[in-house]
Amino acid sequence: MVRIGPHQPEVSSDFEMLPDNLRERAVAAAVEAFDADAVTGGKFDRGELTLEITPAKIASVCGFLKYDQQFVRLSTVTAVDRYPMEPRFEIVYHVHSVERKERVRLKCRLAGSSPRIESVTGVWRGANWYEREVFDLFGIEFTGHPDLRRILMPDDWEGFPLRKDYPVTGSRV
């Protein structure tokens, strides 16, 4: 089932900077101070902080969060397919600081044609399998990844199952 609806992304990309109400959040302010061009938006909803990051700057922002802001853990990397909207893909990173007991969600938006983003395996080695999973199920390429191949599906599988234009049921013809 392909769901094509009028649904807009929750964060409007009209403004290309951090919203004012987020400046009181220490992490958001720190990331903006580190690189003001990297942050293109964000929100604080249901107790969770989301920062939108320019795809080209994701690795440097992650490095800053890990080495400067004690976010030593990368919980997970995943993606959301907003088909047929553009930019189609959202890459979502959940990072966790054990010391500060805080979590932050980073989000990068990628266009639908040949989506590619820099890998964060250089920052957290644990990103390896998560990025492979996103590559396997969404077909998003991670540049600089040491071992980018399918992880859950068979090697010769065609298509990317978690994309919205991939059917849930049916047989391969």
Binding site: R3, E10, R46, T76, K101, G126, Y130, D155
Partner: protein, 409 residues
């Protein structure tokens, strides 16, 4: 999941090691049907004599596309999918999913349901740790421990069956509360079990804690530095056995855990033996929590009062038109969940279990991602076993306590 017998990076290494020019190397293909991999994990182990030179884990044999399946089920139906992710801790998954959706809905859960949930999740932790201890000991050669553990596990499964009609796929924790009120006599049965359980833990300890063979096989085995663990995404008892006091029940309390009195056990030795000690102590702490939940069980409703989300009582449905309409609406199309996204973390028996749920305002989730602890832990296998003896690989991977359903989803 890989079809080729030997992945390219191992093959390249093998070519380098030509006979006569260097050490003789051998590739051992362990799994996916090897009994000690507990499911369908495949490990490609490159050996130099008996020492592991390289280890490449290969997963995906149990991939069932659950994350895709979520997108065509409505929110309440999807509870049944969560059971099947980690089949040794079904109720932890039920809880993680329910909490995530309740956070999106902004739903208030009454205290009785919360206390019941704590009790059930801790029983699930006992269940999972018992299976882990039994099979882990079996791998190392202590066969009788397995029989002892499964004796208690059987009783827990009977307790599960009593209220849900199912031994493993309980689907008992639902969005908005519980599926049903526990049946008459259930609390007595749990109480009877909890009265004997601590002495049973002593029994396991009698069999293992001072057992020279057990100590010889587990002490100073499977060590991996705390920095590497955090970097590679390990969570749960493994981190606690390395001295880091991290537990979502304390750090980010959910379901009223802050109202319960319990300790987070830690060790600093960071080996297989320390992980065993941490899990044994966790069983004792879980018994404490279950006892507190039973003694302090509040009175009141066991499901939330929101008629748009929770099915009405049978009695009301037969007497009130409005209740019947709500029942029809919820059963036929489900309930709508406001737009938004949440990442809900709980402490499953294996570590950090996170549900990332994206809603687009309809009655089916737009995207669900499960951050499962087994996937994160398993990633560290290579780092952990490279350089140790082949016999210790079994003990090391056993101490990770992974479930392949949880890894592959």
């Amino acid at each position: 999941m890989s079809d080729t017998a030997i992945p390219p990076e191992v093959a390249a290494d093998l070519e380098e090691a030509q006979p006569g020019t260097g050490p003789r190397r051998m590739v051992l293909n362990m799994g996916p049907q090897h009994p000690s991999t507990h499911g369908v994990l495949r490990l490609l182990i490159e050996l130099d004599g008996e020492t592991v030179v390289k280890c490449v884990p290969d997963i995906g044999f149990l991939h069932t596309g659950i994350e895709k399946e979520f997108e065509v089920k409505n929110y309440q139906q999807a509870v049944t999918l969560t059971d099947r992710v980690d089949y040794l801790a079904p109720m932890s998954n039920n809880l993680g999913w329910s909490l995530a959706v309740e956070k999106l809905l902004g739903l208030e859960i009454p205290p009785k349901a919360q206390w019941m949930r704590v009790m059930l999740v801790e029983l699930t932790r006992l269940n999972s740790h018992l299976v882990w201890l039994g099979t882990h000991a079996l791998d190392i050669g202590a066969m009788s421990v397995f029989l002892y553990c499964f004796r208690e596990r059987e009783e827990i499964l009977k307790i599960f069956e009593m209220f849900s009609g199912q031994r493993m796929m309980t689907s008992y924790i639902r969005i908005g509360g519980l599926a049903l009120e526990p049946p008459r006599g259930w609390f007595q049965r749990v109480k009877k079990f909890m009265d004997v359980f601590p002495s049973r833990v002593d029994e396991y300890e009698n069999l293992l804690t001072n057992n020279p063979i057990w100590i010889g096989r587990t002490k100073n085995v499977g060590r991996i530095s705390l920095e590497d663990m955090l970097d590679l995404g390990i969570t749960g008892p493994m981190l606690r056995a390395a001295g880091l006091k991290i537990d979502a029940r304390k750090d980010e309390p959910y379901t009223s855990y802050e109202k319960f009195d319990f300790e987070v056990p830690t060790r600093t030795e960071n080996d297989v033996y320390a992980r065993y000690q941490v899990r044994i102590e966790e069983m004792r702490q879980s018994s404490r929590i279950i006892r507190q939940a039973m003694d302090g069980m509040p009175e009141g409703p066991w499901k939330a009062a929101d008629q748009h989300v929770v099915l009405p009582d049978r009695e009301k449905m037969k007497t009130q038109m409005e209740a019947l309409i709500y029942h029809f609406k919820i059963v036929t199309e489900g309930f709508r969940v406001p737009e938004g996204e949440v990442y809900q973390v709980i402490e499953s028996p294996r570590g950090e279990l996170g549900y990332y749920v994206v809603s687009d305002g309809t009655s089916t989730p737009y995207r669900v991602h499960m951050r499962t602890p087994s996937f994160g832990n398993l990633q560290a296998t290579s780092k952990m076993v490279e350089g140790i003896l082949i016999a210790d690989v079994i003990a090391s991977i056993g101490s990770m306590d992974f479930v392949l359903g949880d890894t592959d989803r």
